[in-house]
Symmetry: C2
Subunit: 271 residues, 2 copies
C-alpha cells in the first residue's frame, strides 16, 4: 500500500486504529475451543466485528509460532481472510526480525511473498542490512523499532550516546536516512507519550506505529497531541483491550464496542 492510500483510509474511516491480533489459544472464549480451528474462528469473528472501525491489523507472530506449523497455517488463513473482506486494510506482521542481509531476504519472502503483509516490524540492532531486503519490494514497508512501550526499553534505548543523542533517537535519525516516509515507519510507545514530540522534531513526516494504549497504560489524547502531523502520521494499536474484553459467546460484540469507543475518540481528536 502507498502512503497516499493509507492516508485515504484514515480519512475515509475517520480512524487510525490498528487491531493487534495477539490471538492466544488459551485466552479465547471457551465455546470456540471445541472448533477444529479455534484461532481462525476467533480471528474471523474479531475481524468481522472491527474491520469497519480500523485501518490496520497487526498479528503478532509469537502467538502463532507458539503452536508451530498449525499456528502458521492459522496466521496465513487469517491474512487471506482479511484480504478477502477488506483489500485496502494495512497489514502489519509484528515480527521484530533483524538479521544479516541473506537472512533478512528470507524473512521478506516469508511476509511479502508467502503471505501478503504490507509491513514488517524490524529490530535495528544489526543495522541497515536488516532493513534493505524488505525495501526491494514495491509499496511494502519497514516499521523500525524506535522507542518501545515496555519498561525494558530503558536498558539500552535510553542510553546516552557520546554524540548527545539517546540510542532510540540515533536509531530514528539513522533509520530515516535509509528510507523515506513512503516506505518506513517507526515504533514509538504510547507509555512515554511526552517523548513523542521530540521524535516528531527528528521525523516530521514519517508515520509512527504506537503500541501501549490500553493494558499497558498509554493515553490516546497525549499521543495525538504529541504525534499527529499534517497527514495524521499515526497508527495506534490496541490488542488485548479489544480481543479479551469479554470471554462470553458475546465476545465479538464487546470487541466491536471497544473498537468503536476508540474510533469515536480518534474521530473527535482528528478535528
Amino acid at each position: 500500500m502507498t502512503q497516499e492510500g493509507l492516508y485515504q483510509q484514515i480519512v475515509k474511516k475517520r480512524s487510525f486504529l490498528c487491531v493487534g491480533l495477539d490471538s492466544d489459544i488459551l485466552k479465547i472464549p471457551s465455546h470456540l475451543q471445541k472448533s477444529s480451528h479455534p484461532v481462525i474462528d476467533f480471528n474471523k469473528a474479531i475481524i468481522d466485528a472491527t474491520h469497519e472501525l480500523c485501518i490496520a491489523y497487526k498479528p503478532n507472530m509469537a502467538f502463532y509460532e507458539s503452536r508451530g506449523a498449525e499456528g502458521w497455517e492459522d496466521l496465513s488463513r487469517s491474512v487471506e481472510y482479511i484480504r478477502s473482506i477488506d483489500p485496502d486494510i494495512f497489514l502489519i506482521a509484528d515480527a521484530k526480525r533483524g538479521d544479516i542481509g541473506n537472512t533478512a531476504s528470507m524473512y521478506a519472502k516469508a511476509f511479502f511473498e508467502h503471505m501478503d503483509f504490507d509491513a514488517v516490524t524490524i529490530s535495528p540492532y544489526m543495522g541497515r542490512e536488516s532493513v534493505e531486503p524488505f525495501l526491494e519490494y514495491r509499496d511494502k514497508w519497514v516499521i523500525l523499532l524506535g522507542m518501545t512501550s515496555n519498561p525494558g526499553a530503558e536498558d539500552f534505548q535510553f542510553q546516552n550516546l557520546e554524540n548527545g543523542n539517546l540510542l532510540y533517537e540515533e536509531v530514528i535519525r539513522k533509520g530515516a536516512g535509509w528510507a523515506g516516509p513512503d516506505r518506513m515507519m517507526f515504533v514509538a510507545g504510547a507509555t512515554r507519550a511526552e517523548l513523542i514530540s521530540g521524535i516528531r522534531t527528528i521525523i516530521p513526516d514519517h508515520f509512527l506505529l504506537v503500541p501501549g494504549i490500553g493494558v499497558q497504560g498509554g493515553n490516546l489524547e497525549d499521543v495525538v497531541s504529541a504525534g499527529m502531523n499534517h497527514h495524521f502520521g499515526l497508527i495506534v494499536n490496541s490488542s488485548r483491550s479489544i480481543l479479551y474484553a469479554d470471554a462470553s459467546v458475546d465476545f465479538a460484540n464487546t470487541a466491536r464496542e471497544k473498537a468503536l469507543e476508540l474510533q469515536l475518540n480518534m474521530s473527535a481528536l482528528m478535528d
Copy 2:
C-alpha cells in the same frame, strides 16, 4: 543441556563446531528437488554426514519461515531427527527474537515446548524483559546478540556511549547480569576477532557463539586465540561453507569433508 554437559561434548568430540542449517530450498542439490520433502531430505543427509564432528546445530528460522507452515513442519521434523540420532547435541534456534514479556513467553513456548531446542538467539534492543521468559525453563539457554559479524553491526553496536563503553560492550556487561554462564551466551562475530579478547575481559566465563567463519571471512585461529577460556567457551558456527560446498549427488560427503577439516583444525587448536 547443562554447561557441564556441553563442555563434556566438546571434550568427547574434540570439536566446538556448530553447523548452521540455513537450508535454502533454491540452493539444495537439484536431484533432491524431486522429493516430496526436499528440505527434510537435505537436512537429514547433512546431519547424518556431520553429527559426529559437531556439537551443535543451528537452524536459521528465516529459511523455514520463508515457506510458511510447510517450512515450519520441515523445521520441526528436522529437530526431531537430530534428537533421535544424537540426543546430546546442542540445538540452537537462530531466531533473533526480542519482544515484551508476554510475547517473549510465546516465543519461549514455540522453541522450548513446541520444539525441543536448547537455546534461542535474542536481540537485546527491548531489554531484559525480552530475555526473562526464556530463563524460566530449566537447562535452556539465551544467546544474546552482542557484537555481530555483519557490516551493519557498525550502525549501532559500535556507537560510543557517554559512559565510555561501546553499545555492544554495554549489552554484554548488562546481559551478563541477567543470567550466569550456565544459562546465557553471547554472539561475537569472527569477522572482528581482534575485539573478542576485549569481550573476554567483560565475560571471562560465558560461552560465545561465533558466526562469520567461512563465507563471511572470519579466521578460526584468531577466534580461538582471543576467545578460548578454561572450559573452551566457544561454539563456532559454519553454515554455507558446509551446506553448499557441492551441489552434486555427492553433497553430503563433501559436507562431511568440510566439517572434518574444521573439526581437525579445532582439535589441533584445543591442545
